[in-house]
Symmetry: C2
Subunit: 308 residues, 2 copies
């Protein structure tokens, strides 16, 4: 049985569109459903105990159609479902969502729309011809990508970055608790609005996309932070969400850079402590931090794989 | 135009089944197709140049059916195609592969089998009922998972681990060249056999699976090393490949641990330098390394995101 307060109850509305969200949202590493304690041995054969993140399968349906089974920590299945469908371009902003039904016993979430979606139409045609439609999603997504126009007035200050990285890295999180997890953070100026974690970085992004959509949060003045790499997929999702600035602790791929430049996304990578490299959209950066007065990221908050 | 020597020519055989592979296979970070030089600015606004990994879309077809579009560095599209299909349980060892056609201009790889595969049959039924079949793959994979029996006699020595980690971390690689990439390594005893890299860790695994299948390499005495996290998916793939020992630099998820224990896979995580934690199948480990005589991993080879 799912004992979480129903999102509907939390926000006193059947759906969350146009209702003001309670922000900031921080990770809740103490939620007992999210980690498990296990024991094993170390390099000397000595018994050791540690906390590990719990991942669960979640099968997503759009109306009567099974879309995908995802592995997720399942803290926000409704946001994940909506964000996934939006970022895959399977759901469009004008589709009228009438229900999001999560059932934790059978591990499913069903998104229902008033009318059949454009994606379902396409899928129907597709399955009659060459089969599975997952491959077509890519083309659709690229088509939308080319039509997005990002806010040119948005800005990011290097002093904000220093403050954000510190806030994100020192906040209690599943990462600090158990490791092996990605984080994504929606920010405005030097402030964290929504910090989501998940076993896959795409789930974390999708949860934020779902949150923004359901609470009607404007993307144009936001900054998106991720612990994951700046691949083409990450760039495409950020652009789909119409957020003008993407920042990551991790590195770049060439296509990620090329797509970001094509659409004028500000792309900042290898961002830790006071350091970063920007490879696209540098004109949105204001260099106002006094770097000599700021220390490098201390080693104990350094986000490494495999160490707490 | 694809200027790489055709795999067929390299191995003097139409297909590579039962032909001895040239091992070890190491990354080729100097291959000009795999990285690109870009310039940007750092935290002080100073111009900086760096190498970034190139990712390309590759659309996979099984006979006439479009399966998926993957983002890959595309160094071994044929191995990737076969490994993906095997690990998704879309292709079974008894399916008779008659061609693997890679076309770099239209970015497709087509795997052709003599007869229609069981997966295609299922897909046909599925599309007539509830639509896209990607969701069904999960159930099929779990079904196979439960039937695998891993070699109980396989062993891993702590001294081998020390040697392997050193060899892997100091070998020239795309990771050291450009970062933002995952690595997977097939090992035997203290020796590296096949080291593959890719933008997604699953691609790197799949390329090794394809390599093993096409060259008829036995899995039962091998060790699988990955830079990625030990999630359920990673455990399932290793078990599908029938490799009894899985080692990672990164951390664990609870379901990864639980699946490994269920099937008796040796699961070693947070493995760096001389340190590790084993959470399943400890009986295959021989603690023979003299740890006092071995240094910790030097910081410069430490695999961090975002730093060379």
């Amino acid at each position: 049985m799912d004992t979480r307060p129903k999102i509907e109850e939390k926000f006193q509305a059947k759906f969350m569109v146009n209702f003001i969200a309670k922000m900031p949202v921080w990770p809740d590493p103490k939620d007992p459903r999210l980690t498990e304690h296990v024991t094993g041995v170390d390099q000397e054969g000595k018994e050791v105990g540690l906390a590990v993140t719990v991942e669960r399968p979640l099968t997503l349906f759009l109306n009567g159609r099974e879309i995908v089974t995802m592995m997720t920590i399942c803290d926000y299945p409704e946001y994940l479902a909506i964000g996934y469908l939006l970022n895959q371009n399977m759901l469009r902003p004008d589709d009228d969502i009438v229900a999001i039904d999560y059932d934790d016993e059978i591990e499913t979430v069903v998104v229902r729309t008033k009318n059949e979606t454009n994606f379902e139409e396409k899928l129907k045609k597709k399955t009659l011809t060459s089969g599975c439609a997952m491959g077509t999603v890519f083309g659709d997504v690229m088509e939308k990508f080319e039509t997005v126009s990002l806010n040119k007035e948005a800005t990011i200050r290097t002093s904000w970055m220093v403050a954000l990285f510190k806030a994100i890295n020192t906040a209690p999180s599943l990462y600090l608790e158990a490791g092996a997890i990605h984080g994504c953070v929606l920010c405005q100026d030097d402030t964290v609005l929504v910090y989501m974690e998940d076993v896959g970085r795409h789930n974390a992004v999708d949860k934020i996309a779902g949150y923004m959509y359901l609470h009607g949060i404007a993307p144009h003045d936001k900054i998106f932070y991720t612990t994951g790499r700046l691949t083409s997929e990450m760039v495409i999702k950020t652009v789909q969400m119409e957020i003008p600035i993407l920042v990551s602790r991790s590195g770049f791929t060439a296509w990620g850079v090329s797509l970001a430049r094509q659409v004028g996304l500000t792309l900042i990578g290898r961002a830790k402590g006071k350091r970063f490299i920007a490879l696209s959209g540098q004109e949105r950066i204001t260099f106002d931090a006094d770097l000599d007065q700021i220390d490098d990221e201390p080693r104990h908050v350094s986000r490494k794989t495999g160490k707490k």
